[in-house]
């Protein structure tokens, strides 16, 4: 049986408002690194809270490590680690006091599972007598992860651990997750950063309470309908409205220094025709090239063409 299973989970907070989650189903295999990818308000935190037994769903069934989230919430609470979206440790306690507190709360000691958190904790150990509130963003995050891991949980739930963290710290954090995965811990992680999707084994794209698709990042990319092209020009932002005005365009949006373009139909001569059209609009030095879509392209595609 899979470690985390959701079946048709629905949840609304306010009556008559659109539900936070609607018929969400997915499962996570043992030892898997599973990503929930979606913007703020997509329902990621609600999923975490239901799985960590903090919230009751309105409908549907869910199990974690074989335990039912409603009936067996005590068992679940002793076998999961959870890092909520906000930094949730005691700011007025020192690094060491925080870790000690959570270790004892989970009925263990720091030394018992030290091997697991060693790599992470050693980075913050020089500041162990500093109050948690005085740590930098990256260090807070490492402390929070250490606290969530200190009892060697079977399943680790991480709600947007990299939000508001800079690119370098984000990279380090994902490296840590990979090591934890190798220790056999099942990890469910959420992120609004599409570029982090490729670091997960399987992902669920989620928007306004609905799952858009679930698969490995590679399969999701492979399922992109049709071909995707990149347009390059010295004046990209002037190019955008002109390209959009072209008849045969299905998708056209900025992507960094390029424009990403998809045609309504993939014909061999469409790219050349587009270039001619753009030339007539005064864009002389435009280059077009077929590219492999990334997760963000797939997400945009799913948003504009929901099933």
């Amino acid at each position: 049986m899979d470690t985390v299973v959701l079946e048709n989970i629905s949840k609304s907070y306010i009556k008559d408002a659109p539900p936070a989650l609607e018929n969400v189903s997915f499962s996570v295999k043992k030892g898997e690194l599973f990503g929930l990818i979606g913007p703020d308000g997509a329902g990621k935190s609600t999923i975490f809270r239901i799985l960590t037994t903090l919230l009751l769903s309105d409908a549907g069934k869910a199990t974690v490590a074989g335990y039912d989230v409603v009936k067996d919430f005590h068992q679940i609470r002793s076998c999961v680690g959870y890092m909520p979206g906000r930094f949730s440790l005691y700011q007025d306690l020192t690094v060491e006091e925080n870790l000690n507190f959570f270790a004892t709360l989970f009925g263990t000691t720091i030394t018992e599972n030290y091997a697991l958190i060693k790599d992470i904790y050693e980075q913050i150990a020089p500041f162990k007598n500093r109050r948690a509130g005085k740590l930098s963003g990256g260090m807070k995050q490492k402390l929070a992860l250490s606290c969530a891991l200190v009892h060697r949980p079977e399943v680790l739930f991480l709600d947007e651990p990299t939000t508001g963290v800079d690119a370098v710290s984000r990279q380090e954090f994902w490296d840590m997750l990979k090591r934890l995965k190798n220790e056999g811990i099942t990890i469910v992680v959420s992120t609004p950063y599409m570029d982090e999707a490729s670091l997960c084994e399987r992902i669920a794209l989620i928007q306004t309470g609905h799952i858009l698709s679930i698969d490995t990042p590679d399969n999701i990319v492979a399922a992109y309908p049709g071909k995707l092209y990149a347009l390059r020009s010295p004046k990209v932002h002037l190019l955008l409205p002109d390209t959009r005005s072209y008849e045969g365009i299905r998708q056209c949006y900025a992507a960094g220094e390029k424009l990403h373009v998809a045609f309504k139909e993939d014909g061999k001569d469409h790219p050349a025709q587009l270039l001619t059209y753009l030339k007539s609009k005064g864009h002389q030095t435009v280059a077009i090239q077929e590219i492999r879509p990334d997760i963000e392209d797939c997400f945009i595609e799913k948003l504009s063409n929901p099933k």
């Binding site: 903090l54 909520p84 306690l93 006091e97």
Partner: protein
Amino acid sequence: MKQFMVFVRKEFYHVFRDRRTLLILFGLPIMQILLFGYALTTEIKNAEIIIVDHAGDAASQQLTTMIAASKYFDINRSTASDEDIYKAFKQGKVKCAVVFPTGFGNDLLNGQVAQLQVVADASDPNTARTLTNYITAIVADYQQQVNPTANIPMRIEPVTRMLYNPELNGSMNFVPGVMALVLMIICTTLTSVSIVREKEMGTMEILLVSPFKPVYVVLAKAVPYLALAMVDFIIILILSVLALEMPVRGNLALLFFESTLFIISCLSLGLLISSVTRSQQTAMMVSMMGMMLPTILFTGFIFPLENMPLPLQLISNLLPSRWFYVIVKAVMLKGLGIGVVWKETLILAGMTLVLLTISIKSFKTRLS
């Protein structure tokens, strides 16, 4: 058990590392006791008084001397006429006058009813009542001296309030009330704020997603504050004895037992507040403002409950502080034992039990 102790220790860290908490915990009671004890008593000292002596005999002069000697009155004039009273009252300097009719001393010696007139400026009814009470007390005192064996019923009503407060010390009534008020505010505020803070900071999520049982979270929160509130109680007690010259006539152990009951009921109330509020500010507002007003109004230490309309009297019965106040007055000031206050104690214990049960039940094991 180890988990529990670690949790309790953590709570103490929070308290001793937060200046605001420390201020509420130790600054507030000291300030309140001194404020109510000194500034807000009904005690009036050195009030100016006019004596109109139409008798001019030994008795009237002795009484005048006694009034002058008391710390409550300064004699403004003693040879004035009746009209002077009204003039002086209108100027507002004098609030009270005593008129001895002719033949005052004779009447007294002959065993007849000797009358003397006490005039007070009743535009300030509280002061007026207090001043006339003082005069009555002095007259009674005088009569005892002159004729200790006399069995004549006093002509002016003795006021119950003075029975156990022969020096007319105003703070006596206040201190038990302030004790109730301060413990109420501190216990509800600190517990509710400390729990809501965990909600606000997001740490409550982690606590709930741990094997530590939610009911222990509640208890582990309550234990440190029970201990701290007891320390507060001791501080208040010492302050009232040393600074406000309060007696502790009854059994100290009984007093502590009753206080513990009361504190637990307040802590439960704090827990209850914490489960219906989301932010620290709201929790603080509800505990401070929401608790202060009913406690002041319905405990009976500022506004006598007997004078209230029946519906309000019934409401006052729902307040634990009302019963605690009665108990403390009885034990501390009158030196009475459990034999007299068992009924109140039982009511207080019942309330505590109900509040504690509701608060534990209402503590959510999930987020909503």
